[in-house]
C-alpha cells in the first residue's frame, strides 16, 4: 500500500523526488519535484505558496512518538492504553481522518466497527451540508481535467481559490490550454460570486457581490430565470443585493456556455441556509443541463477529505457521522457528528486523527472533550494533542509516508514520500491499536 520512495541520485547528499503529491489542499497537485537534503526539503518545484510552506517548513518533530498523560512513554504502552480507552467507553467516537491516507482511514473505520463506536470526519464541519444536499438532489459534476479541457464558463461561488487553492486557476480551471479551449484563459469567462471582494476577484472577468446570507435567494433567483419565470426586480434587489439585470446577464452567459462549471466553497455551505444553499446550487446546475452542459464541484479543503468520504462510504454506506452502537451503521448528521456528540455530552471516550478540535470546536464541545479520556494522532503538537490522555506523534503523510489520497474530484492519487521519519505512520499506530482492540473484544478475523 505504501509507494516506495523513488529517487534520482544527485551528487552530494541531495536527492530528488519527482511527481510527488502535495496534500496541503484538495487540489492534490501531483507534479511536485522535491529536493531533499538531510531530512529537509530544500526545494518544492511547481508547488504554490501554501505547498512550499507545507514542504519546506516540514521538519521531524523533536518530541516523543508517544506521550501518556503528557509524559513520554513507549509506543507499546501507548497502544495498550489507547485500546483500553476505546474499549472501556460506552460511547466512543473517532474523528478527523481528512489528513490521513486511505489505508489509515480504513483501519480507523475497522476499529470503530469492533468497538461499536461512532465515526465522523472533518467533512461534518466543512462540506457536510454539501453531502446532505447531494443526497437530496444528486449532482452533475466532472473530473478536474474535464474542466481544463472543456470548461468555457467558470463560476466560483463562496470560494476564494486564490488564497485557499492557489494552483486551482493555473492547473485546472482558468489558465490551461485544454483540448477544446486552445487559447486557455482567453477562451474562458470567469465569474466570482461572494459576499466580499476577495483576492480571487482579480482573476475573474466579473465579480458579483451579493448580500451576506443571501446565497439561497440568489440561487433561487437564478433557478427562476433559467426556467423563464418573471421576477420582481425590486424584490430581487432587496433579497440578493444585486440588480435583476445582473442576474439575467449571468443567466444569459450560463445558457450560452458550452460547458459551464460552478465551483463552490464554504462561503456557501457554512453560512445561513447551509445544505439548502448547496441543494439550490446543485439543482440550478441540474436545471441548466436542459439548455447546455453544466457541472458543479465543491472546492474541498483538506488533502484527503474526499478519501475519507469515500472510505467511510464504501465500508458503512454513509459518508460521515456514522454510529455503530447497535452493531450496524446508522447515519444521522446533527446527532452522530462530532461537534454534536461532544457538545451534547454523549461521547465518553474519543480518538482524534489529524485534526484539532481543541482549537476549532465550540466551547461546549471543547469542554466536554477535555473531560473524557481520548487519544490524539498528529504530526505536530496541537492544543488537542496537549489535552490527550495518549498522544502519538506520527509521520507526515505525503512527506514521510506513502499511501493513497483522493483529490477533490474523487480521483485517487498515490503518494511518493520524500524521506523517512523516526515516528510511526498513523497507519502503523492504528493497526497496532486495532490489534489490541480485537484481542480485548474477542474479534478473531
Amino acid at each position: 500500500m505504501v509507494s516506495s520512495t523513488e529517487t534520482v541520485a544527485v551528487p552530494g547528499a541531495l536527492k530528488i523526488v519527482t511527481d510527488a503529491t502535495c496534500t496541503f489542499c484538495g487540489c492534490v497537485c501531483d507534479d511536485i519535484d522535491l529536493t531533499v537534503q538531510d531530512n529537509h526539503i530544500t526545494e518544492a518545484k511547481r508547488a504554490c505558496v501554501l505547498g512550499k510552506a507545507w514542504f519546506l517548513s516540514h521538519s521531524i518533530e523533536d518530541r516523543p512518538s508517544c506521550l501518556i498523560d503528557g509524559k513520554p512513554a513507549t509506543l507499546e504502552a501507548g497502544y495498550d492504553r489507547a485500546a483500553q480507552i476505546l474499549t472501556n467507553g460506552k460511547y466512543p467516537i473517532v474523528y478527523g481522518l481528512s489528513d490521513s491516507p486511505c489505508e489509515a482511514q480504513r483501519v480507523a473505520v475497522s476499529i470503530v466497527d469492533w468497538i461499536n463506536g461512532t465515526i465522523d470526519t472533518t467533512t461534518s464541519v466543512c462540506h457536510g451540508p454539501s453531502g446532505m444536499a447531494f443526497q437530496g438532489v444528486g449532482e452533475v459534476t466532472c473530473s478536474l481535467g474535464e474542466v481544463a479541457n472543456r470548461g468555457d464558463l467558470i463560476i466560483f461561488w463562496g470560494s476564494n481559490p486564490a488564497e485557499s487553492h492557489p494552483r486551482h486557476f493555473t492547473r485546472y480551471s482558468l489558465m490551461p490550454k485544454g483540448m477544446f479551449l486552445p487559447n486557455g484563459r482567453k477562451d474562458r469567462t470567469c465569474v466570482l460570486i461572494d459576499v466580499r471582494k476577495t483576492k480571487s476577484a482579480k482573476a475573474a472577468d466579473q465579480f458579483i457581490q451579493i448580500k451576506p446570507r443571501a446565497d439561497f435567494e440568489a440561487l433561487w433567483a437564478l433557478r427562476a430565470l433559467a426556467k423563464g419565470v418573471e421576477l420582481d426586480p425590486e424584490a430581487v434587489l432587496r433579497d440578493t443585493g444585486v440588480e435583476l439585470s445582473v442576474w439575467q446577464g449571468l443567466m444569459d452567459k450560463m445558457k450560452a456556455a458550452k460547458f459551464g462549471v460552478i465551483f463552490f466553497g464554504m462561503g456557501l455551505t457554512m453560512t445561513r441556509g447551509k445544505h439548502a444553499n448547496t441543494e439550490a446550487l446543485l439543482a440550478l446546475t441540474r436545471d441548466l443541463n436542459a439548455f447546455t452542459r453544466f457541472a458543479a464541484k465543491a472546492n474541498r479543503g483538506h488533502g484527503n477529505v474526499s478519501g475519507a468520504d469515500n472510505v467511510v462510504s464504501w465500508r458503512t454506506g454513509y459518508p460521515f457521522g456514522v454510529n455503530h452502537s447497535r452493531g450496524y451503521p446508522r447515519f444521522n448528521p446533527g446527532e452522530y457528528t462530532t461537534s454534536d456528540t461532544l457538545a451534547n455530552g454523549e461521547a465518553d471516550s474519543a480518538m482524534t486523527i489529524a485534526c484539532d478540535p481543541m482549537a476549532n470546536f465550540s466551547q461546549p464541545a471543547r469542554e466536554h472533550l477535555a473531560k473524557i479520556p481520548f487519544i490524539a494522532l498528529d504530526a505536530k503538537e496541537t492544543p488537542t494533542t496537549r489535552a490527550a490522555a495518549v498522544a502519538f506523534t506520527v509521520a507526515t503523510y505525503g512527506i514521510n509516508t506513502g499511501g493513497t489520497v483522493y483529490r477533490m474530484d474523487d480521483v485517487p492519487i498515490p503518494l511518493r514520500p520524500a524521506f523517512d521519519s523516526p515516528h510511526p505512520s498513523d497507519f502503523e499506530v492504528l493497526t497496532q491499536i486495532e490489534k489490541r482492540v480485537k484481542l480485548i473484544k474477542g474479534i478473531t478475523s
Binding site: 443526497q135 439548455f291 452542459r293
Partner: protein, 554 residues
C-alpha cells in the same frame, strides 16, 4: 502426497456440466485450495470430511456483470441513505464486519451476501481507468470473492483517435497498455461514442451505429469493430464486453442487431441484452414490444456471440451506468435525484433511483423480455444469468430467477399479475421450456467461466479452484438456491447456512496481454497534454492487490 491437508466432500450429487457430470454421486478431494485426485494410499484420511449425501454440489457461482466497486458504485451508496434504514441490517460478528444493504450494499456486505448465495467470483462491469485504483481499494475490502473489472474504453479519446487515424496496431497496443496499467480484466464498451457526444452537447447522444461522433468524426460501428478486432488479436481471455448504443429506447433492437453484425465474426459479449431488445418507436409506450425472437435467432446461428440478460425484477433499485446520456434520460423519466459525472478523456456516469412496477406495462414487458432471452437462446453456454446488479434488480434476486426458469407454473402466476396487454407484446406466455439443474449450473457458473476464459473456475475437475457450493435440494428452487448449506472458497469453508465462517479476501483477476511497448511514448505524449494527473501516477501498482492472479491469454 501423504502429508497433504485434505478436505473431502463425500457422496454429494454433483452438477459439473463442464466435465459432463449431470447429477452423479461422487466424492471430491480438495487440497491447497484446489480440487485434486483422491489419494491413492487408502490410509490417507482427510482432515475434514463434509457429508454431502443427499445434497447438490456445484462449482461456486460466477457473476460476470455487476456493479460492486469503484467510483460510481460508491457515489450510489452515498446518495441513497433513505433505503438503508428500512432495509436489512448487517450486524458485525466476532469475525465479520458490519455493513449496510439497500440496493447498493457496502463492500463487506456485498462480499458476505454474494458468498451467502453461493457465489465466489464477481466482475464489476464498468470502471473508468482514472478510477481503477479506487476499484482495487474497494476490492481489498470486499471479502469472500475473487474479483475483477472491465475497463471503460468505448469513449476513450486515444481509442477514437487511433481509429480516426486508421491505426489498428496502435489501438491494439493501447488496449494492452490500458488493461495492464489499470490491472483490469477486459475491454468494455458503453454506448460507444455516445458518451463523447453527451459531453459536447445538451442531451447529446448518438442515434445508431453510423452516427457521427464529434471531433473524431468516426462512428460507433468503427469503435465496435476496431476494439473487437484488437481484443481478438490480443487473445484476451474475455474479448470485448459491449453495452450497446440506445439502451432502453423503443425500437433499439435494430441497433443491437447492427452491433452483433458489426463484430464481423470476432468474439463479443453483449451485456444486459434485455435492455436492448425492444420494438416500437418514438417513445410511444403503445408501440413498445419484445424483439427477442429475431435477436435470439441471430445469436443461435452465430457462435461468436454470447449474452447476459440483465433481468428486471419488480421493486425499487438504483440505476447506475457509464452511459451518461442514459442517466440523463432516466432521471427525466423518473424525476428523482440524478448524479452525472464526466471523466476526462475516458468516460461518463449516470445514477438515479428507479422502481420497477408489475402494474406498469413497460416494466412488465422488460421483465418478460428478460425471461424470453433465457428461454429462446438454445445453447445455455452462451446466455448468462445477470440482473446487471443493481440496475435490473439486486443479485439477491438470482434464486427467484432460477425458480422462474425451472417452474413454468410459477412463471405463469407472476405473468398473470402483469397488465394483460403484455400477452400481445411478448411470447412469454407460450413458452413451455423449463430449465434443468444442469442448465442452471451452466448459466450461473460453467458458462460464465468459459466465456471469461477462466480455466480454473466454473467446474470441479482436477486442478480447478476449490470454489464449491453445496445446496439442500428443495421442490421450491428459490428456497433451494437462496440459502446454500455450505460455500467453499479456495478450499476453505466461508459460509455455512448463511453464517460467515471465514471471511477471506479473495484474489484479483486481471490480465497482462503482450503488446507493443513502443506505443507508450505516444500515449505518454497525449496523456501529458490532456490529463490532470501525472503519467507516472496513473498506473496501479501491484501493492493495491490483496492477491494478484493473472489470467493467461486464450
Amino acid at each position: 502426497m501423504p502429508n497433504m491437508d485434505y478436505l473431502k466432500i463425500s457422496q454429494g450429487t454433483i452438477y459439473d456440466p463442464a466435465n459432463g457430470v449431470d447429477g452423479q454421486v461422487r466424492d471430491l478431494w480438495i487440497a491447497d485450495g484446489r480440487i485434486v485426485e483422491a489419494p491413492t494410499d487408502p490410509t490417507v484420511r482427510p482432515s475434514r470430511t463434509i457429508d454431502a449425501a443427499g445434497l447438490v454440489v456445484m462449482p461456486g457461482g460466477i457473476d460476470m456483470h455487476c456493479h460492486i466497486a469503484g467510483p460510481k458504485v460508491n457515489v450510489a451508496r452515498k446518495m441513497r441513505p433513505e433505503e438503508k434504514r428500512r432495509g436489512e441490517q448487517m450486524r458485525r460478528t466476532s469475525i465479520a464486519h458490519s455493513g449496510s444493504m439497500g440496493s447498493v450494499p457496502s463492500t463487506f456486505a456485498t462480499g458476505y451476501k454474494y458468498a451467502g448465495l453461493g457465489y465466489t467470483t464477481a466482475f464489476d462491469a464498468a470502471v473508468p481507468p482514472l478510477g481503477a485504483r479506487h476499484a482495487h481499494e474497494e476490492f481489498d475490502d470486499t471479502p469472500c470473492l475473487d474479483k475483477g473489472f472491465y475497463v471503460l474504453m468505448g469513449n476513450n479519446h486515444f481509442v477514437m483517435q487511433s481509429i480516426a487515424q486508421n491505426e489498428p496496431q496502435k489501438l491494439k497496443a493501447f488496449i494492452g497498455w490500458l488493461l495492464t496499467a489499470t490491472r483490469g480484466f477486459a475491454p468494455k464498451l458503453v454506448n460507444p461514442g455516445g458518451v463523447e457526444v453527451w459531453k459536447s452537447h445538451q442531451a447529446g447522444n448518438v442515434s445508431g451505429l453510423d452516427s457521427d461522433i464529434d471531433h473524431f468524426h468516426i462512428t460507433p460501428r468503427q469503435i465496435i469493430r476496431g476494439v473487437a478486432q484488437a481484443a481478438s488479436e490480443l487473445r484476451l481471455p474475455h474479448p470485448v464486453h459491449i453495452h450497446c448504443n440506445n439502451l432502453g429506447m423503443p425500437g433499439n433492437w435494430h441497433t443491437t442487431l447492427d452491433t452483433m453484425q458489426a463484430l464481423e465474426g470476432h468474439g463479443g459479449h453483449l451485456t444486459h441484452v434485455q435492455f436492448h431488445s425492444y420494438g416500437g418507436g418514438d417513445g410511444d409506450e403503445n408501440t413498445f414490444n419484445s424483439k427477442v425472437i429475431p435477436l435470439a435467432d441471430y445469436v443461435n446461428s452465430h457462435p461468436n456471440i454470447t449474452v447476459d440478460v440483465g433481468q428486471v425484477l419488480f421493486g425499487e433499485t438504483t440505476s447506475m451506468t457509464g452511459d451518461g446520456p442514459l442517466g440523463y434520460f432516466l432521471s427525466k423519466v423518473y424525476g428523482g435525484k440524478w448524479f452525472s459525472s464526466d471523466t476526462e478523456m475516458e468516460s461518463g456516469c449516470g445514477i438515479t433511483p428507479i422502481k420497477y412496477k408489475n402494474k406498469s406495462l413497460v416494466h412488465s414487458l422488460q421483465w418478460a423480455i428478460g425471461l424470453e432471452w433465457y428461454l429462446l437462446v438454445n445453447d445455455p453456454w452462451r446466455v448468462v444469468m445477470s440482473t446487471d446488479h443493481p440496475n435490473g434488480g439486486s443479485f439477491l434476486a438470482y434464486p427467484q430467477i432460477i425458480r422462474l426458469l425451472m417452474d413454468r407454473t410459477y412463471r405463469q402466476d407472476i405473468l398473470k399479475s402483469c397488465p394483460i396487454e403484455i400477452l400481445q407484446r411478448s411470447t412469454l406466455n407460450d413458452m413451455t421450456r423449463e430449465y434443468t439443474l444442469n442448465e442452471i449450473a451452466i448459466i450461473t457458473r460453467a458458462g460464465p467461466a468459459r466465456i471469461l476464459g477462466l480455466k480454473n473456475k466454473g467446474h470441479l475437475g482436477i486442478g480447478a479452484d476449490a470454489d464449491i457450493t453445496i445446496y439442500t435440494p428443495h421442490e421450491n428452487k428459490e428456497t433451494m438456491f437462496e440459502l446454500p448449506r455450505l460455500v467453499i472458497k479456495s478450499g476453505r469453508v466461508v459460509v455455512e447456512q448463511g453464517e460467515i465462517r471465514d471471511p477471506l479476501i479473495g484474489k484479483t483477476l486481471h490480465v497482462e496481454p503482450d503488446y507493443d511497448h513502443d506505443v507508450e511514448s505516444s500515449i505518454q505524449e497525449w496523456f501529458e497534454k490532456y490529463y490532470s494527473i501525472q503519467w507516472r501516477n496513473y498506473p496501479v501498482g501491484l501493492d493495491y492487490m490483496h492477491e494478484s492472479c493473472v489470467i493467461p491469454p486464450r
